[in-house]
């Protein structure tokens, strides 16, 4: 009896981080589903705009997804928005902006009207008593450049030259 309860529990504990990465998403535009995360990979299906998919994993600018017919393939990251589509709002994001504005939490003042359980908000910052002691504590965890370099090398990170990109027109 114990074992029958324990096993699923253990599964839930260890697998939950992986499962948490599976997330609902919505296709933004009619898109081609590809067998691999490459622009010239084989096309294995078509997905209509607004179709719901499940994101399984990400590789660079591609998401591996599963569609409602349980087909699995890769879509460009820009072809979908995570979420149920209510906030997808097309490529301009106007839908989300409108919805966001209608919640009354944005606006020129930028001051949050808090309801329910309140986290950090504008009022907390506006009423903060500056804590200089906490600022001094930040020195405790500072790293040297040499340490940061060792840390990066240990994971195989390598520096590259890459010029900043111009603002898209």
């Amino acid at each position: 009896m114990m074992r029958r309860l324990l096993l699923p529990l253990l599964f839930a504990l260890f697998l939950s981080p992986l499962q948490a990465q599976e997330q609902g998403a919505t296709v933004l535009l009619d898109s081609l589903l590809r067998a691999e995360p490459y622009i010239d990979a084989e096309v294995i299906g078509k997905l209509k705009a607004r179709a719901p998919v499940t994101v399984v994993e990400r590789s660079g600018g591609w998401y591996q997804v599963r569609d409602s017919r349980n087909r699995s393939g890769w879509l460009r990251m820009s072809a979908i928005r995570l979420g149920d589509g209510s906030s997808a709002g097309g490529d301009s994001g106007i839908g989300q902006t409108l919805r966001f504005l209608s919640t009354g939490r944005s606006g020129a003042s930028g001051v949050t009207v808090a309801t329910g359980i309140r986290g950090l908000d504008a009022a907390d910052v506006a009423n903060a008593i500056p804590d200089h002691e906490a600022v001094r504590k930040l020195d405790r965890h500072r790293t040297s450049a040499a340490e940061a370099q060792r840390f990066a090398r240990s994971a195989g990170l390598r520096s590259h030259q890459f010029d900043y990109l111009k603002e898209p027109q």
């Binding site: 600018g61 902006t97 309801t115 009423n127 500056p130 195989g156 990170l157």
Partner: protein, 289 residues
């Protein structure tokens, strides 16, 4: 566009100072235009909006970050604080201000947010860390924040936003920690700024430069877009996003601008995401929340 605004302000300020003198002198008979010391007026405005040296910037940053730390405590988790400093410092080494005394910290708040302050201070909340899935995503967020420091977005905003007296005081007398009035004005300026948020174009610029900085540091540059996707996928009514959403453009809008650059990021797309190292580092945080 942003440059234009700044230029306009640079030009308008001396002008408004002059106008002020004019209106003052309107009460004075026999106004002698040549007597107005144009040079001095221009000088003061120039100093007020000119470059602040690193030492002064750090003092300003200390005051700014003390406001944030007055609102949210630091997370008591030394290994995690150290890890975020290592990732952050490595990322910051790939900016034009690699030699700054960069300091990173995790805030003990379930809210989803990250902040930067002049002089190289970067803060990220526990709530945001818990939403991330890889070191590349963390690097993307921290890279975005380093841009605010590198491009001095907060300095420019606080100088523009605050009344002229603060700007002139900073320029003329310099920032003196012992000068309570100046420091008080500074923290008031930063309270307003953090409550209001930066200009949306500063945020777009930080996104655009952030993905490049992450790629330079050897990470998969799609980390930041992936974080924005996560945020776009959350309910806009989620209270942990309220402050972030009231101070930043909508994630979908930020994504739509970044998406136009994806082709340029692709040569770096196969760089490491480092999911495992990230998960190991924040495991203690995940189990506690």
């Amino acid at each position: 566009m942003r440059k234009d605004t700044r230029l306009t302000i640079r030009l308008l300020l001396p002008l408004s100072l002059l106008l002020g003198l004019f209106s003052l002198s309107a009460c004075v008979k026999d106004l002698d235009l040549e007597r107005i010391d144009l040079g001095q007026v221009l000088n003061t405005a120039q100093q007020a909006f000119g470059e602040v040296d690193v030492q002064q910037e750090t003092l300003i940053g200390k005051e700014a970050v003390s406001v944030l730390l007055g609102a949210v405590p630091l997370l008591e988790n030394d290994p995690l604080q150290r890890y975020v400093n290592q990732v952050g410092h490595w990322v910051a080494l790939h900016t034009e201000r690699s030699d700054l005394a960069w300091k990173f910290a995790v805030l003990d708040s379930p809210d989803i947010n990250a902040f930067a302050a002049p002089g190289g201070y970067i803060l990220i909340t526990k709530g945001l860390l818990l939403k991330l899935q890889s070191e590349a995503e963390l690097a993307g967020v921290l890279a975005h924040e380093t841009v605010h420091v590198v491009r001095k977005h907060h300095l420019a905003a606080v100088q523009q936003g605050a009344r002229l007296d603060l700007a002139v005081q900073l320029g003329r007398a310099g920032v003196d920690e012992k000068h309570e009035e100046t420091m008080e004005k500074l923290s008031r300026g930063f309270k307003e700024l953090y409550a209001r948020g930066l200009d949306k174009n500063d945020e777009f610029e930080a996104d655009r430069m952030g993905v490049v900085i992450a790629a330079r540091a050897g990470y998969d540059p799609y980390g930041l877009p992936a974080v924005l996707q996560t945020l776009a996928g959350m309910s806009p009514d989620d209270t942990s996003l309220a402050f972030l959403f009231s101070t930043h453009p909508a994630p979908a809008r930020r994504l739509s601008l970044l998406e136009r650059l994806y082709d340029r990021l692709d040569p770096y797309a196969r760089q490491p995401q480092l999911q495992q190292r990230f998960e190991q580092q924040i495991a203690s945080l995940r189990s506690r929340s």
